[in-house]
């Protein structure tokens, strides 16, 4: 999929672990792992909003389009 999720990059910049993010946004570790590994098929606006709030970033920081 040409949409890449840069969650690991943003987490590293914020020096935050996946467990901490999971506690902050109320998502399971399993779901966050799916998102981090780029296996997710879609992301809800509510999830994106919660992650952006928790990491103090913009959706563009998390998602990137890499064309073929």
């Amino acid at each position: 999929m040409p949409i890449v999720v840069n969650l690991d990059v943003v987490l590293a910049q914020r020096k935050m672990s996946l467990t901490e993010l999971s506690e902050k946004v109320g998502l399971t570790m399993a779901n966050l792992s799916i998102l981090k590994q780029g296996k997710a098929k879609a992301i809800r606006f509510s999830t994106l909003m919660a992650i952006c709030e928790a990491l103090d970033c913009q959706p563009g920081d998390l998602l990137e389009y890499r064309g073929p």
């Binding site: 998502l27 779901n31 966050l32 799916i34 998102l35 296996k39 997710a40 098929k41 879609a42 992301i43 809800r44 999830t47």
Partner: protein, 209 residues
């Protein structure tokens, strides 16, 4: 995804399917046992046997009906009934019984796949690859039954029409009521494709964060 909130109707269908499956299997095992024993000649005391065959035949027979003080003309055009053939040689009944076993095997297969399907449904596993497989196999078996009945009814029609002779009844042909089987097979086949789409939607839903 599993759930304990199984609807009552599904529970009833589940227990009914289990009952029908085991009773049919037991009946089939008994049939195989008696057929095997008969083939091996364990019932030597009788050389000839009788056989009950359910048939639906087109015929021509006229009669009367008396009701309310009047007499009406009645014409029988087709009839369903069990024909008892007495004094058949053992090898004839054995061949027919082997044919009936194939029919029984297909019926048991349909019930078996439906049983597996309903077990999954009872556990809350609706859209799974396994269920798609069970539905497809059920449709193949039903299609097989339809073809089987079609062939047997045509063969038996040709045979019985040329051999049956009654004093007052004139036989014209044989009918088979296997149309609903074909419809059922096609319906279940379409259902399997709907389930296939359901599996894709379920996977997308599971991977939506």
């Amino acid at each position: 995804m599993t759930t304990n909130n199984t609807p009552l109707s599904i529970k009833i269908i589940y227990y009914l399917t289990q009952f029908v499956f085991w009773v049919t299997l037991l009946g089939a095992l008994l049939a195989v046992f008696f057929l095997g024993a008969g083939t091996l000649g364990l019932f030597k005391e009788t050389t000839d046997t009788s056989l009950d065959i359910p048939l639906r035949l087109e015929l021509e027979e006229t009669g009367t009906m008396t009701a309310y003080g009047k007499t009406y003309q009645v014409e029988i055009r087709d009839a369903v009934g069990t024909f008892e053939f007495s004094g058949l040689p053992r090898r004839v009944t054995t061949v027919i019984m082997f044919g009936a076993l194939g029919f029984l095997a297909l019926i048991i297969s349909v019930i078996w796949f439906f049983r597996k399907f309903i077990i999954n449904v009872k556990q809350g596993l609706y859209f799974t690859d396994g269920n798609i497989g069970y539905l497809k196999k059920m449709s193949y078996c039903l299609l097989g039954l339809w073809i089987y009945i079609l062939i047997i009814s045509n063969i038996s029609a040709g045979f019985f029409m040329s051999t049956l002779e009654f004093d007052t009844v004139q036989f014209k042909g044989s009918k088979s009521e296997s149309g609903p089987l074909l419809f059922g097979a096609l319906f279940i086949w379409v259902l399997s494709h709907i389930f296939s789409k359901g599996v894709k939607l379920q996977q997308e839903q599971d991977l939506t964060i």
